[in-house]
Amino acid sequence: MIETPEQLSEEYRQELIRTLTMTVDTELLGAALHYHNLYTDNVPAEHVAGLLALSQDELGHAAIACRLLEDLGVDTDAMIYTRPPERFKHPYAMDIICESFTESALTAFLYDRAGYKLLGDVYRTTSYAPWKRALAKIDREERFHIRFGERAVRILCETEEGKAEVQRTLDWMFPITMEFFGLPDHLKTHDRQIEYRIKSKTNDQLRQEWLAEAVPGLEKLGLKVPAHYDEALGEYVLDFPFPCKFYPEEKRWDFSQPTTWDEVLSRWKGKGPGNRRLVETIQSGRLQLQAMAGGEP
């Protein structure tokens, strides 16, 4: 185990900065995703406090990762408040603002579970001891988010109308969650983070672990899931072309239009429709305070 920043090689340090930055960005956007929902009538009163607690956890996780980045020499204040929105690094799905409680509930069920799988792997195997210790709390809290999502989705599915909306929402959110795990292994020939033992499992392995949990959980609620377990292959198989054409403004996939990973990479690079608004949500408090103080930071 590596204990201090001084022990790191420059390459390892850069790789660690990259993964911690992605964690900060994903956690910050994870809080912002629900923010606009929370100040509408979308969220039933009995779920407001839970969703707030969840958002607060996400900000806490970002603060923890920032603390580690500071030890690595990163100016996290500049990183959060002066970086342009398009330079934030997070999964594409995090740039699509939640516009209903169903979307917030499925975000917790699907995306937080993806985050839990990705960070859980790091927690169990990382060679950077400070990150491992910090992840103990994050790991537990992500479990709470998943349980929040499971409970909320179960409650929504108790009415026919609610269940139909969960199904419609799942139809676009399920495939986008698959993109969380990145390129398929056959296109990603080497992974520095695995070489440096910052993490241990490949994209496809983590995607499979997610499917093994999420698919039965969703099916138990009577929802149609576009993936199934293939006995012969011994793994989960997606029932839609992956990658595929996505229309973000309509939150819709065209499953008759398979696409290439190059096209997907360029969509990811161009960021999702909520990118600017979400990053501005994160930055706005500081900017307003600065304006009130007469421009002094």
């Binding site: 009995e46 406090a49 839970g50 707030l52 607690a53 210790r133 910090a134 103990a136 709390k137 790991d139 537990r140 809290e141 709470f144 349980r147 929040f148 409970r151």
Partner: protein, 103 residues
């Protein structure tokens, strides 16, 4: 059906946010058994706890799995208020391990 069975079952219900049972969290103030009806006095760590409905549901669902329990009645108690002094040693250890201050 007796009180010990109920306490044992409550020790199987986990806090939604923390890896600790409701009993180890010190949230359960008392248990009474009246025939097939179980009464539980419980509190929460704060009046603003986001999980009060969730915890109550989990208790009812779990206790009703017992064939001798027909109904569960929950009474929320705010006095005396919950403090960290109510945590068992087991809970204290689990919370310290995940980086939560308990003093």
């Amino acid at each position: 059906m007796n009180e010990q069975v109920v306490w044992r079952m409550l020790a199987e219900v986990q806090d939604p946010e923390l890896p600790v049972s409701l009993v180890d969290m010190g949230l359960i103030y008392g248990v009474r058994v009246k025939g097939s009806v179980v009464e539980v006095d419980l509190t929460f760590t704060s009046t603003g706890c986001p999980c009060t409905a969730w915890i109550k549901e989990d208790i009812c669902r779990h206790l009703k799995q017992h064939p001798a329990i027909s109904d569960v009645r929950l009474h929320t108690v705010w006095d005396p208020p919950w403090t960290v002094a109510r945590l068992t040693d087991k809970a204290r250890k689990a919370l310290v391990e995940m980086g939560v201050a308990v003093d």
